[in-house]
C-alpha cells in the first residue's frame, strides 16, 4: 500500500512542481525526496517507487502528447538523438531519465529519514 501511495504521490507532486515553473525542470527531485521522507520505505523500495512514479508521469505525459501530435515531432527528435526515429523508444528514454532522477532523490529521502531516527 505504502509503495503504491508513494508512486502516486511522487507522480502527482512532480506534475504540480512542473506546473509551477516554466524553466526549472528538476523540481520533481525535491518533491520525490519529500515523498520518501513522508512515506517511509526501505531505500530500495523508495528508489523503485520514485523511479516508477516519474517513469509513469514522464512516460505517460510524453505518450499522451505524442498521440495528440500524431507522432510528428517525436519521429524527428528520435532521429536527432539518435534513436532510429523510433517514437516509443523516445518515450521510454524520457520516462527512464525522469525515473532515474526521482529514484535517486527518493532513495536519498529514505536514507535521510532512517539516519535521523532513534
Amino acid at each position: 500500500m505504502k509503495f503504491i501511495t508513494a508512486i502516486i504521490l511522487t507522480a502527482l507532486l512532480a506534475f504540480i512542481s512542473g506546473l509551477l515553473s516554466f524553466s526549472l525542470w528538476w523540481g520533481f527531485a525535491i518533491t520525490s525526496l519529500l515523498v520518501a521522507l513522508l512515506v517511509h520505505q526501505k531505500a530500495g523500495k523508495a528508489f523503485l517507487s520514485g523511479f516508477l512514479g516519474l517513469l509513469l508521469l514522464w512516460g505517460g505525459l510524453a505518450w499522451w502528447i505524442d498521440m495528440q501530435n500524431s507522432g510528428v515531432l517525436s519521429a524527428r527528435i528520435a532521429s536527432v538523438l539518435p534513436l532510429g526515429g523510433n517514437n516509443m523508444l523516445l518515450i521510454l528514454v524520457t520516462g527512464v531519465v525522469g525515473g532515474l532522477v526521482a529514484g535517486f532523490a527518493a532513495m536519498s529521502g529514505s536514507y535521510l529519514r532512517s539516519s535521523s531516527k532513534d
Partner: protein, 837 residues
Amino acid sequence: MTVNDLKKKLLHLSLSFEFIFLPMRIVPFAVSAVVSAGLIFALNKQWGAIPPMGKFLSPQHGFWQNAEPSNQDFDAQLSFPDLKGKAEVYFDERLVPHVFAENEEDLYFIQGYLHAKFRLFQIDLQTKAAAGRASEIAGPKAVDYDKEQRRLGMVFAAENAMKEIEKDQASKKLFDAYTNGINAYIGNLKESELPVEYKLLNFKPEKWSNLRTALLLKMMAKMLSSGTENDLANTNAKAIFLPDELKKLYPQVHDSLVPIVPRGTVFEKPGIVPIQPLSADSLYFGKRDTVTAKEISKPDINNGSNNWVVAGSKTQSGAPILCNDPHLELSLPSIWYEMQLQTPTSNTYGVSLPGAPFIIIGFNDSIAWGVTNAQRDVKDYYEIKFKDKTKQEYWFNGYWEKTILKEEVIKVKGGADVKDTVAYTIFGPVMFDESFSNNLSNKRNLAVRWVAHDPSNEGMTFYKLNRAKNYDDYASAIQTFQCPGQNFVFASKGGDIAIWQQGKFPARWDRQGLYVMPGEDSSYMWQGFIPQPENPHAKNPERGFLESTNQRPADSTYPYFIPGSYITPRGIAVEKYLSGMTGITPKDMMTLHGNYFNTLAEDALPLLLKYVQVEKLDAKAKGYLDIVRNWNLMASPDSKGQTIYQCWWDSLEMGIWKDELTKVEPQAPWPEEQTTMELLKKDSALSFIDNINTAEKETLFDVVTTALQKATADLAKKEAEGKLEWAKFKNPTVYHLLKDALPAFARKGLNVGGNGNIINAVTHSHGPSWRMIVHLTNQTEAYGVYPGGQSGNPGSRFYDDYVDKWVEGQYHKLWFMREGDKTDKNVKWIMKFNKGN
C-alpha cells in the same frame, strides 16, 4: 560497580556508539544525494552538441511542449498597451492569417507578432547570421563566416538603412510598430514555449529592433546582389588570358540572348557618360598579377527567378495574368510567410518576409506585382595601400588619409572571444587584408564598394506597392528602390502590363569593375549612377507579354556597360512558349511554371551527337548514348536522358576548360554553359579544346568522346544505386535552416525534375520558393504554393504541409477574404487583439 553504574556505563557507551555511528548512517544518504545532484547537474548541462537532456526531455518543459496537437486551437484573446484599437486575425484551414486592423500601425504590429509566433527561430537566426554573430550559436567553426559578414560591412549597411528608415516619421512609425509586435510576442514567451531549435541549441531569443529588420533586408541584399559579381576570380582570369580571349570566354551579350526589354526598343541618349581613366591600360587592363582572396559565403549563382505577365489580348478572359516564381535556397521553414493584410484603406494578399513588414510579392484589389533578381554587378573591389600595419592611414589622391577603424568582437559559443579590426576607407570597408585573407598567401588589401552600403529604405517601396492602384502608383513606388536590383513585373485590373528593372546601378565605363581596381586615387571610383528613368523598362508591348528570368535586361544597344551574372536559357524558353500562346488561362500558366524543357540541351545535344566517336566507346557508354539519343529534351523526374546529358555536358566542360582555368589559384571563373555551347557551335576548332597538359593535340571529337566515356563511370555507379532517373540523381531536398546539423528536420528525395537553366528551376536544394499566379479579373482569381508550411515548428502539422502539393505542381486557391466573410466556413480560428495591459 552497581547495576546502575553498569547501566550508566552502557548508556554512555551506546551514546558514544551513537556518536560514532550517526555519521556512518549519513553516508548512504550523502552518497545517494550526491548521485541525485550529480545526475541533475549532468542532465542540466550542455555536453558538446548534446543539449541539456533533463530539460530537453521533460514533457512539461522540453521538446515535448513543441509537439502541437493535431487539433491545436489557435483562437486567442490578446491585449497589448502598444495597440491603438481593435483588430482580428482570421486563420483559414491552411493557417494563413487574414489580418483586419483599424489602422496601419496595428496592422504591422500584428504582422510582427505573427512572424514571431510562427517563425521566431528563423528571424532570430537569420539576423544574427547577417550581423556576423553565427559563432554565438554555432561555435568556433563559424568565426570566419562572421568575420566575412562584418568585413563586408553588413552591420554598417544595416545601420545606414536604419538611419534612413527612422529619418522619415511616417516610415519610422510603421517599422516601430512591427518591432513592437515581435517584442510583444517575445516578452510574453514562456521558456517552455521556446521553439524547439532553442532547446536543441540551448540559447534564447533576443529582443527585436529596427536595426534587426534592416539586417534582414541586408541579408536579402547580400543574397541577391553580392554574388552577382566575379571580380576576384576575373582578376585571376586576366592574369592568364589575353583581352580578346577574355571577351570570348566571358561575353557581355550572348548571341542567343532574349532580353527583358524586347529587342528593337529604342533607348534615349545616356544622361551620364563615364570616362575611362587615362591610366587604365597600364594600371588596370594591363595589370596581370593574381589575387588570392576568396569569399567564404558567396551567394548561390542560381538565386534568380522567373516572372512574366500576359495582357488581356492573350488571355481567354481578356484580363491580364501575372506569374512569379522566385528561385532561392529552399528551406524549412520557408523564407516566405503567406498572409492577407487589411485596413479600411488597404487590402493586400501575398507573401511576406519574416523579419520585415509588408507584403513582398502579391496583389491587392487593383494590381498585382512580382519580382525577379536583376543579377547586376553592384559591388567592386579597390586595392588599398596602407601606410603601415596599424591600418590607420591609407594613400589616397596624394595624401595619407585616415581610416575609421572598427573593432569587432565576435563572441564564440564554447570558446574565447575573437577580435578583429576592420578599416573603413572612402570606398568602403577593407574586406581582405593581412589579418583576413582566408589563409592564402598574397595579402593584398581590398576595400569593397557595394551599393547595399548606401542609405536607402527599400521597405517603403513595398508599403507603397501594397497600396498601388495603377501603373503610376507602381512606377512611383519602385522609383526609390536601390538594392538588390529587381525586375518588378506589374499588371493592373485597368489592363496595363509593365516591367521595370529597378535599382541603383553605377554608370560604368567599358569593363569598369570587372576586375580589382586601383584604389590609390579617385580616378577609378564610380562617377555616378544611371538615372532612374533610364533603367530598362517596358509597358504594354504590342506582343502582349513581358517576362524576366535573370537574363541581361537589354541587348547591346542599351547605352551603358552593365556587367552581371546573367542566366540566359530560361528566358529563351519562356519567350518561346509565351509568344506561341493565345487564349491563356491560369491553368496554362501552372503548366508553364512546371515546364521541364531543356532549351540549352536543344542546342548542345546535336553538338555532342555530331562529334561523339561511337566506335571508341565501350558497351556501357554506347548504351547511355542510345538513351540520350532518344531523349525528349525534358528534364522530368523519371528522365534518364537528362541525367546522362547533364553528366556528359559537365564532363565536356571539364575537359575543355579545367586545364586553362586552374593555371591560377583561386581558379578563373568557368564560362557560362551558354557561352561554351555558343563557342563550340561557332568554332569546332576552338583553341581551348586542346588539353595544354598533354603532348597530343585534342580535337572536339576527342573531348566529346572522352567526356562521355568519363561520365559513364559515374553514371554506371549511380545506375547501380538505382539513381539514374533525374530526380533520384539530384535528390531534391528542402533542408531545415540548420541544414546538415538537423537532417531529420528536412524533406529529402522529392520527386521533382527541372534544373537551374530550366523554367521549373529545381536543383538539389534550390528552386521556386513561391509560385504565384494572379488573374486580374473583377473578382481577383489567384493561386499560390511554396515548399514549406506556415508554421516554423517542426512539431506542427503546418510545418511542411505544402511540400507535397508543390512537388506535384499543384496550387492553393488563394482566399482573398472580404469584410463580409468573417463568419465564412473557411475561418477556422480567430485571434482577437485589443488595446490594454
